[in-house]
Symmetry: none
């Protein structure tokens, strides 16, 4: 089975945005074992899109498009695909109801209704993150999946609606297990299992660097799910035995969900005190549904005065060691926990740049701290990149330190029993 990707959007042709959708879909197709030989980008223009469909269907069985599903007149992907397949556009009542629910209590411009007309007979793909549903049209052995442009809408729609559709078209089954690692770089991790990666062809092991973490994806091909899982197990076990301390979770787990589950399970509450990350740590922890059970209070203490006033960092410490110091990081996490009555405190203080660096304390120098029941551990980071990159990396490192300290606390607790 051969597929092609056609991304529709003048903003791609103008270089306004990166085609991250093409990369996402390409990776998904590779995992599904579907051959992808071409990707195309074309503007919001009916004639040129129609020609692109012609060319692609001459070479492939399936086309996946992204973009051009919005409410304005220049959103023409769905209509052009329908015309190509000779399907009339009909109102999809379910999508209309969903759209009206989406806009309930708000003004809806009437042009939005365009989005709930679908090619007759198409499989409609719900959009849980926006107003434009997608669809799959199949006819005479050719299939087109029409997906929205914003990655926040396309990715879940692919995962929830398109992936399982494509899997059913395949004769074999592919199963993947993803291991998430934090606190170790891609090359250092890959080094540890290099010969395992080289000798293993089914399952395959592929390392990917992600922002502030890395993953190993183990993919097996077999006649059914059980066969694939049996192939994966010994390989996953071997990776755990070599790198287990860095693996925080599998598949859909995130560093935050792994940490928050642990905190909730152990009934440990947490408070944050942030300087350079300015709310990122709190915001990430709170992104976990159910965070209210464990997250007490967060402080963004961007000035020395607020570090002293709200966290009780001593003026001596600030004067002697400075705001960017292990001493301040320690007093910040202890102060946040104490003041808000939490078991655990987590803190960050550093120089995110671009200004504010000195020879002694350069841009990218960050101290993070975690206190558990009044006992603090701090860590020095020397990060690089943009202000945003430094802040994100510091927040991720602080949450990883929190994960390590919970594990440590667990071990201490067990050794006492």
């Amino acid at each position: 089975m051969k597929a092609e990707i056609i991304a529709v959007g003048t903003e791609l042709l103008l270089g306004d945005i990166l085609n991250t959708n093409a990369r996402f879909i390409a990776r998904q197709l590779a995992e599904l074992g579907i051959t992808l030989q071409y990707q195309t980008v074309v503007g919001d223009n009916e004639q040129r899109l129609s020609e692109a469909l012609d060319i692609a269907f001459n070479r492939a069985d399936i086309i996946i498009t992204s973009g051009g599903l919005g409410p304005t007149d220049d959103d023409i992907t769905k209509e052009t695909a329908a015309k190509y397949f000779n399907k009339e556009m009909v109102l999809d009542e379910r999508s209309r109801d969903r759209l009206l629910t989406y806009f309930k209590g708000r003004n809806m411009s009437p042009t939005n209704m365009k989005q709930v007309y679908m090619p007759k007979g198409a499989i409609v793909l719900d959009n849980d993150n926006g107003t434009a549903p997608g669809c799959i049209i199949t006819d005479k052995g050719k299939t087109i999946a029409v997906l929205p442009g914003p990655p926040s809408e396309l990715v879940p729609m692919f995962e929830n609606g398109v992936r399982s559709y494509l899997e059913k078209q395949q004769e074999f089954t592919l199963v993947s297990k993803v291991l998430h690692l934090s606190g170790i770089g891609e090359s250092a991790a890959a080094e540890q299992i290099r010969e395992l990666m080289q000798k293993s062809s089914n399952p395959t092991i592929a390392p990917y660097a992600k922002t502030n973490e890395m993953v190993f994806r183990i993919t097996a091909r077999g006649k059914d799910k059980e066969e694939c899982q049996a192939l994966i197990k010994p390989v996953a076990d071997e990776i755990y035995s070599r790198l287990g301390q860095f693996i925080y979770g599998e598949d859909d787990e995130t560093l935050v969900s792994a940490v928050m589950k642990r905190l909730i399970e152990k009934g440990l509450t947490v408070a944050s005190a942030e300087s350079c990350t300015g709310g990122m740590v709190a915001s990430r922890l709170i992104d976990y549904p159910g965070a209210s059970a464990v997250f007490m209070t967060g402080f963004v203490t961007y000035t020395n005065e607020s570090k002293a006033k709200f966290l009780g960092v001593s003026e001596d410490t600030l004067e002697k060691y400075g705001a960017v110091s292990p001493q301040t990081a320690e007093e910040m996490c202890i102060g946040a926990a104490e003041r808000s009555g939490a078991d655990i405190g987590i803190s960050t203080t550093g120089i995110a740049g671009p200004g504010g660096g000195t020879a002694e304390k350069p841009v990218g120098l960050v101290y993070i701290g975690v206190s558990v029941k009044g006992k603090a551990v701090t860590k020095k980071l020397q990060l690089s990149g943009s202000r945003n990159k430094i802040r994100n990396a510091a927040a991720a490192a602080a949450i990883e330190l929190l994960r390590q300290q919970i594990i440590q606390e667990d071990k201490n607790g067990k050794s006492k029993n």
Copy 2:
């Protein structure tokens, strides 16, 4: 003049890497006023690349390729292009000398010599950052520029060798102005200037939805920059006259940078009090370099106790109206400002879901507040989507409300004078 981009590389088809080269080249072409109607990605395969060249030259005058110039057997872009133009490959002595200099004192694999054979008559483009030179072949009105794949090599080669070549081919210039709007949706904004968009062909006006904001891009074509700017001005003025209250900035401005510049300029300090957004508002404001001049303290008060203890929200209010209420939002922003000695307070409180909603207070209900010198304004939002989406939209709306209140404060101040 029409151009196309063909990126060559199996790693793009597997989704291993993002096609940042296409975006870079697309942006350069847009700046040069060269029309780009299609981008293609194809693997390292001679037949398929050759077919892609055929298709592209049927539609365009110039092709720019990236990738496939390395020393290995599957690097075939230059050879395929030469065959397409019926040019034999000849040793380029200058490139050979540069290659030998590059490897001086190191072992050079003989396969590297492949890289210094060039299509006869081609313009050779030096590679100052790698071993593979690029080239430009022109024949019978068609041109191909063959560039290496690594962005660190492609970008400088384009800037040093290709850009000036293309400039010489162009008879006109393109200039764009981007207007950023916040607090209004894409369709509602487009509605306001629909007939202007329809009748305007030079400059063109294109709307784009972005996360929690939208932009209009006005693009003019003329003989020079001045002529383009003169074409853009009356159209931009007209859009300002209809939608000015929603336009927060132009070109590279962001909502946060617009707000922070105003605050810094007016010497107004700010403190935040966040419940559902849990640090996002503080984090965004602090992403602006120089935030330390105006950002005082942020509070993430996720529990009722912390709202009372750290912000002084009255227990009466919490009991009578609940944590998700305009009254709580108001006391939160006033409390944050008071406690930290800031001029302005900004607050959010709401139900981000997926749990916690009731018939009366459903998931997505958020109240935001902004107080300026003790006087608060609150706003009710009914948002939808995932937890993350609701939180992001609430943070964006709060910062937009802050922008409006600063403008209001400005007006009040002026009317008093």
